[in-house]
């Protein structure tokens, strides 16, 4: 019985997993510098940002929604946290200055991400705005707010703790990778064990039947957008720390890489089918592909073409899979 359960989980993620293994083997043969510990850590560090975002995206897509605003939410929470750690909050009128510790900044960043995500959720559930449009609106709003906050200039020089989060190591693991792994484990467990994880699958599978089973569909939907926002903020902290600066145009286009990771990982855009583990593989495929193409000196223009083809192939395979089932 246990065995069939493991096999069932693997069925949807098996193809992407095979693809990943094939890619890793091929690149190890084609390039001497690919399978070195330096490069592997490098790939994992690059993947960690997309992975954090994509875990949230997986939850949203499993309910049948989509979140285009993750990149902009990343930029805004990154900019605000950089601004706060550097100069705190100034209240000019009453001559008050509030400084922030590193952990204070982390909390504020996550709150901003969560708030913007919650706003997306309210748009989708209360005002019945289609998720595509609701989060498209937020994509523009949060980007604009980032520009307002930064005046379009990067904020740099963020101190040692931030630097440690970006470039430090803990128990032989780079910090960004550690954060991403924790996020993945937390949500893989959540999706598997928590009732709300089950409800997310149920809503994506059949929203009406879920409602008739007494599930508060709106609350669960609002929750997934909030999670997507919070995880964008987590990614924002990593990005900001790694560059030791918050760029006003950070995260541009990240929503696309993230959707690609989710889709390549076998999660259905119709909702109800897929997994966090699939997304991990999807994100790794994109990361390895990027890295390998750079190592093999493929022109950046061709890289884009190839990435697009991979996404299409993944969806075609998923369609064929769905037909079989």
């Amino acid at each position: 019985m246990l065995k069939t359960q493991i096999l069932r989980i693997d069925r949807s993620t098996l193809r992407p997993l095979v693809a990943l293994v094939v890619m890793v083997l091929a690149l190890s043969l084609l390039s001497e510098s690919f399978f070195t510990s330096d490069n592997i850590f490098n790939v994992m560090r690059q993947v960690s940002v997309n992975l954090c975002i994509s875990v949230g995206m997986t939850l949203v897509i499993l309910t049948g929604g989509i979140d285009l605003s993750v990149g902009s939410i990343l930029a805004l929470s990154g900019a605000v946290s950089a601004g706060l750690i550097k100069s705190g909050l100034q209240f000019a009128g009453i001559n008050l200055h509030v400084g922030f510790t590193f952990f204070g900044v982390v909390v504020v960043a996550l709150l901003i991400g969560g708030l913007l995500g919650w706003f997306n959720g309210q748009m989708v559930t209360r005002f019945k705005v289609p998720p595509f449009i609701a989060t498209l609106g937020m994509l523009t709003i949060a980007r604009g707010m980032t520009m307002l906050y930064t005046n379009g200039h990067p904020i740099t020089g963020l101190g040692a703790q931030f630097e440690y989060l970006g470039t430090g190591w803990f128990c032989g693991i780079p910090m960004p990778v550690l954060v991403a792994v924790l996020v993945v484990l937390l949500f893989a467990l959540f999706m598997r064990k928590a009732p709300w994880g089950r409800y997310i699958y149920a809503i994506g599978g059949n929203e009406r039947a879920s409602r008739l089973s007494g599930i508060d569909v709106n609350r669960v939907k609002c929750f997934v957008y909030t999670v997507a926002g919070v995880l964008s903020a987590v990614a924002a902290l990593i990005v900001t720390a790694r560059l030791d600066s918050a760029q006003p145009n950070a995260g541009t286009g990240y929503e696309l890489d993230s959707i690609a990771a989710v889709v390549i990982g076998g999660t259905s855009l119709n909702g109800g089918r897929g997994s966090v583990w699939g997304t991990v593989i999807g994100a790794l495929i994109i990361g390895v592909l990027n890295n390998g193409l750079v190592l093999m000196n493929v022109s950046p223009f061709w890289q884009q073409v190839i990435k697009g083809v991979v996404i299409l192939l993944a969806v075609i395979m998923d369609r064929m899979n769905a037909k079989e089932a």
Partner: protein
């Protein structure tokens, strides 16, 4: 005088998986005459008309158009030779205007190959005037009332210059004035020699309109009669007159106190192509009692149980009294917390997450009882599902099989298992045996009997008269959103039930 036959159906048989919807039925459409088609829900009226109008292409038997065999593969082919059906559920596009709907797919073209809007609206107006449509042909369809949309559908049929015109309960959404206009139009069409088929449940329309009446029952032709040779009572008797054979023997168990009292339930909710409506629906169910709700399609049966289950939220008025508490649930959760469970009519759309396995579907409505350390205990979940699989005799490889792979009867049992796990005191079952095989039906009858014996209150909706009469202690009938009658078990007759459910005006 013999009327000339325009279109004839001979020995039509139509099979669905597991069901014979029509069994060797003959039917004739006469030029310049109205042949009314009557029968209960599920008698096969719509199936027969869908064959006549080309919706279903695979059937046994043959169609003769003016004596020559013909077989329609599509509705377009049928329309080409002049056979058109005005459907009850509207097939119009809400975002387009009236004229665009009428000429959809066959728009008049100008010399440039573009749509000739002047010509289109001009012609549309002509047809609209005949059906008594008062608005402009530029009106967007979704701004019209349902009855007016029905008129547009009829105008569309006229624009096709039909020789055979099939109406499926056309007056069910029309006002009195619109109905009279339609009757005059039908008189006109008769004079022009158009052959008309008229499906209806309204007996008074027969004498006004019809020349012939054809009765179907359970997929069989019962007979064709000239209207003036027969009477309403005779027709009703023909519609239901099957031999009384009990489906199963109901056990007697004592009735307890009132479990659910429904007071003045009202609902008005406009959907895209129909209006959900209930007016002052009141009834009560006791512990240990099975209450049947009978009514024809569109009488509001489903709306009653959906409203009780909190699915219509703010659109609903009225009050439920359960154990001294008076309230009206606004969400299914509230209803479930009050001990109510709904087994919905459409199990694929409303009952199950088809991609999920049996175990997950079984616990979906009661997942909070499956937790250990805050997480779902998969082992206990499977054991629980296994328990229900054995108890309800759900046929499957294992509880890990996706619900979508099960047969209809077994799917229904999974929905039942899901709701039974919430330990409901009041069960609302909406067409619990629709589309499932006879064995599974019998098991569900026994289950309903057992639930009542355990002291639960059960409300059953069914379109099948023998079924609802066998199951229920009392039956209330609905028509047009209102309770029309209430029968005790010793008063059950098919004729009485049908008469009480026929719409009057």
């Amino acid at each position: 005088m013999l009327d000339s036959v325009l279109l004839e159906a001979r020995k039509i048989t139509k099979r669905w998986p597991g069901v014979v919807a029509l069994d060797g039925v003959d039917f004739r459409v006469y030029a310049g005459r109205v042949n009314a088609l009557v029968g209960e829900n599920g008698a096969g009226k719509s199936t027969l008309m869908n064959i006549l109008s080309g919706v279903y292409a695979d059937y046994e038997g043959e169609l003769l158009l003016e004596g020559a065999p013909i077989r329609f593969r599509t509705t377009a082919e049928a329309q080409k030779v002049g056979v058109t059906m005005v459907h009850q559920e509207l097939n119009l596009i809400p975002q387009l205007n009236v004229a665009e709907n009428i000429f959809l797919g066959r728009e008049p073209r100008s010399c440039m190959g573009l749509i000739d809007y002047n010509k289109m609206h001009g012609e549309a107006q002509q047809h609209l005037r005949r059906v008594g449509f008062v608005h402009d042909s530029h009106t967007t369809l979704c701004d019209l009332k349902v009855g007016e949309q029905q008129l547009v559908e009829i105008a569309k049929a006229l624009s096709l210059r039909a020789r055979v015109l099939i109406f499926d309960e056309p007056t069910s959404s029309l006002s009195e004035q619109e109905t009279q206009t339609l009757f005059r139009l039908i008189d006109e069409l008769k004079r022009e020699g158009v052959g008309i088929v008229y499906i209806t449940h309204k007996m008074d329309e027969l004498s006004r309109l019809a020349d012939y009446v054809t009765v179907l029952r359970d997929g069989h032709l019962i007979g064709e009669h000239r209207v003036h040779d027969t009477s309403t009572d005779e027709i009703v008797r023909l519609m239901v007159g099957r031999e009384r054979k009990d489906l199963f023997v109901k056990n007697d168990h004592p009735k307890g106190e009132v479990a659910l009292e429904v007071r003045s339930l009202s609902l008005e909710k406009r959907l895209q192509n129909r209006t959900l409506k209930l007016e002052e629906v009141s009834f009560e169910v006791c512990r240990g009692e099975v209450l049947g709700i009978y009514g024809l399609m569109g009488a509001g049966r489903t709306e009653v149980v959906e409203t009780i289950f909190g699915l219509h939220g703010a659109a609903a008025k009225g009050v439920l009294r359960i154990g001294g508490r008076e309230f009206l649930p606004k969400t299914p959760r509230e209803a479930m917390d009050a001990g109510i469970a709904l087994i919905p009519e459409d199990r694929k759309h409303d009952g199950l997450v088809l991609g999920m396995d049996i175990a997950r579907n079984t616990t979906l409505a009661s997942l909070d009882t499956m937790l250990r350390w805050g997480g779902i205990d998969r082992g206990r979940e499977e054991a629980e599902a296994e328990h229900y699989r054995a108890e309800l005799a759900i046929k499957s490889h294992s509880v890990q099989q996706p619900a979508g792979e099960l047969s209809g009867g077994n799917q229904q049992k999974v929905v039942l298992a899901k709701m039974l796990r919430t330990d409901p005191q009041i069960l609302l079952l909406d067409e619990p045996t629709r589309g499932i095989d006879i064995n599974a039906k019998n098991e569900i009858y026994k289950l309903i009997d057992r639930l009542a014996a355990e002291g639960r209150a059960v409300v059953v909706i069914s379109s099948e008269m023998p079924e609802i009469m066998a199951l229920s202690d009392r039956i209330i009938t609905l028509s047009a959103g209102r309770v029309t009658a209430c029968f005790n078990r010793d008063e059950f007759t098919e004729e009485a039930l049908l008469k009480a459910s026929l719409p009057t005006k």
